[in-house]
Symmetry: C2
Subunit: 195 residues, 2 copies
């Protein structure tokens, strides 16, 4: 059974909402953090580049959708900023221990979207790595390795090649699903294909 | 009990999907066709201005969401084009008979999104008006009245003043809901407030 691709940006509130519900998806998922900003540089549009939509998403809809699963959103300090540190840390951890990378991703997401920590702050990503058992200075060094940086750059390009243009974004046997609100459909597609 | 504002563009597939489910909303709705293009001129972004998102919306997601309510989407000829004729015809009809304007809107939407008729073609709007009982030449003249044109221009500006930036867009006692996929939340909000 092929895995579901689960693309997400740590700076995305709907990515957070999806991550908090990811355990409800029975089929194995490949967690793929990426930088939406890098994708938008390629496709030429920012998802929140006008005030009305940003106010709606950040001030109304994302908090409302989070409350439906019992979570109280807190917008990360400095939002919107890149989430380079956690994205790199994820791939550094994954190389050693894929399951732990998923635990790390959830920890990092909670820090950004429940506690309002800045997504661009490397210390927050290091804290999240520490909370899943890593030594802080080892984690910091790992995030700065050339191989780690290259891996994230590869994954960003791979997302673009696969047509990913938003966060979260799911690919189920090539069928795209954009948005945390499409997760029920992801689960249906999964059940249908499982037969 | 105040009415729910239901803003939609006839050229919007999700607007169509919402219109086909509108009867499930118990609280009275004010149907407000508007031209999303006019709004985007103001807020400076087109919703489908990159190929990836348009391919996803038109080729994958909107047809998938329509199938879930038993409808097979057909993209209007020449899409994306403005839907000036039906938008004007709606307000011309509404001035005489609000209930019939809603019936007209559903007829027009079916022609565009089930039969693939061009949204910019005045003859299609006239056909839809005829199907709810209007004489064709009277309808055509009504669409071209200065008062009709001014009314649509007013409604477009009113949408902008209310912060509407997408289609469909609901306002329930001022709370905004964007997208046909938020209709279950519209219905919940409605029930909660009905107490």
């Amino acid at each position: 059974m092929t895995e579901i691709d689960f693309y997400f940006d740590f700076a995305s509130p709907y990515g957070f909402i999806a991550a908090m519900q990811a355990d409800a998806v029975a089929r194995p998922m490949r967690w793929r953090p990426f930088l939406l900003g890098a994708v938008y540089k390629t496709v030429g549009q920012s998802p929140l580049d006008h005030r009305l939509k940003r106010d709606y998403v950040i001030g109304v809809d994302a908090p409302r959708m989070a409350r439906r699963i019992g979570l109280e959103l807190k917008v990360p300090a400095g939002f919107p900023e890149h989430a380079l540190p956690a994205s790199r840390a994820f791939y550094w951890i994954e190389r050693q221990d894929p399951a732990r990378a998923v635990a790390f991703a959830k920890e990092a997401y909670r820090r950004y979207w429940l506690h309002g920590c800045a997504t661009s702050d490397a210390a927050v990503a290091v804290d999240a790595a520490a909370s899943v058992g890593y030594d802080r200075s080892t984690a910091m060094a790992g995030m700065q390795e050339q191989a780690t940086k290259q891996r994230l750059a590869f994954e960003n390009d791979e997302a673009i090649r696969k047509g990913v243009f938003g966060s979260p974004f799911f690919l189920v046997d090539g069928e795209p699903f954009w948005g945390s609100d499409r997760m029920p459909l992801v689960m249906e597609a999964e059940r249908e294909r499982a037969g």
